[in-house]
Symmetry: C2
Subunit: 267 residues, 2 copies
């Protein structure tokens, strides 16, 4: 019962491409349909109701392609809309929170874990709850960093001002003596080296993209839905704003050139 149907992935914009990159690495035979809601990005500053509405529309869009599994690659959508999506659609769906949380709990030794994300993700409390419900002793220090997404979207990845902004947000966290920090936003891996420089060598950074790819492989294996590998995988990208900008900036996230991008107006 193998299946050559594609995996569907959505994000508020470019960030989810860090997840696509890891899925391609882990599951090279799988085809992928990606949707980036670039006309309405960012999600992390908006309300639960709006994030739910957008997430429903994005998922509905992906189901038109008969995808076999959906990855909610956006931490904000995963925090605020995942349960609603799972209740609404019959198709297997995974978010990015649980895989990142599990990895962090495996890595931490002093049981002091930091989480950084968008305002919506952090104030939802979903990460904090997931960490402590897996391991009640763990101490969680969560901070929202609302300027990091625009910083990354503007390509300001390693400027002096980037370091100043990152330092401004992370300074209180440095004092908390955490040994593990979850990057709870798919944009943050692009400023990982700046974050690492500020947190110091004693703090391990958890970028959940790799963990998500592992989870997707498990889910497909469990349901016997892995691709047969007879056909070459196909990657298709859809965006709600200008494909040119997505193509240019997106290649930094994906680590390879993006072709086959279409603009859609139906969301």
């Amino acid at each position: 019962m193998k299946s050559d149907r594609p995996i569907g992935i959505f994000d508020s914009g470019l960030g989810g491409l860090t997840v696509v990159k890891e899925i391609i690495k882990t599951l090279p035979d799988e085809s992928i349909i990606y949707f980036g809601d670039t006309a309405r990005v960012p999600y992390g500053t908006k309300s639960k109701k709006t994030i739910e509405k957008f997430s429903l529309q994005n998922t509905r869009f992906l189901t038109k392609f008969k995808v076999k599994l959906i990855v909610v690659a956006c931490n904000t959508s995963s925090s605020l809309a995942l349960n609603l999506l799972k209740r609404t659609f019959k198709i297997p769906i995974t978010g990015v929170i649980e895989p990142g949380v599990k990895q962090a709990l495996l890595k931490t030794k002093n049981e002091r874990v930091g989480v950084i994300g968008t305002r919506a993700t952090i104030s939802s409390g979903v990460y904090q709850k997931a960490l402590t419900s897996c391991k009640s002793k763990v101490k969680v220090f969560a901070i929202s960093c609302p300027l990091f997404v625009p910083l990354v979207e503007e390509g300001l990845l390693n400027k002096k001002i980037t370091k100043a902004i990152v330092y401004d947000y992370l300074e209180p966290l440095v004092k908390k003596k955490i040994d593990t920090l979850i990057l709870a936003c798919t944009h943050y891996p692009l400023i990982k080296s700046v974050i690492a420089g500020i947190m110091g060598p004693g703090v391990q950074l958890i970028d959940s993209a790799g963990a998500v790819a592992g989870k997707v492989r498990c889910m497909l294996d469990e349901k016997g839905l892995r691709a047969e590998g007879r056909n070459r995988p196909r990657y298709q990208f859809f965006v709600s704003d200008e494909p040119r900008i997505f193509s240019k900036e997106g290649s930094k996230f994906l680590g390879r050139k993006i072709i086959n991008i279409k603009r859609v107006n139906n969301v």
Copy 2:
């Protein structure tokens, strides 16, 4: 032929409230319907096609209230969609560019004028063209400052990091010996003191909100459409995301408490 019909105003989010504030001051008898597209904010990082689509939807929404005049309070929409809106709707429409440009040209003595705005506004070249077509000798120095909108939307108005970011963007402009700087984004008046501190006392800042209010008064007088002043003016606010956030942050822009806010789903 006076008219008690309201004035319609739209913006991508909160910024346009700086224009509402000036219109209330200049035209205290006029009723106002405001729409802030908070679910899709910001516009300044998006493409012309998307900005046109959103601006058409916003204008169509306002026309349902039988408004007598529409103010496009968003610089990005004014730069990229104003002509399309004027061609599409019969109602009088004004943007925020022409009033700001006229004021800047009245104030400058050395004919060296700076313009700061969003990426979409600056790369449209609309301000540069408007300034030089009014006065061909004027030298224009335009810079986009994409982080200013998230900075203001996050309420980081006077922190150390705000100064560092503003300095980072404006440093090249300081060297250009301009004597006048147009704040070509309705968010920027909220960090006016920071901008003024960096540009120095020799540079006059043009915040077009006041000029826009004057333009609206002229247009209403010309068409004999001023309110009769018999009824108390009504202010109604509509947003596409959570009214609570808009209410809290918006009061900083408007300089008074905002009541009467409704969320709309139809755009």
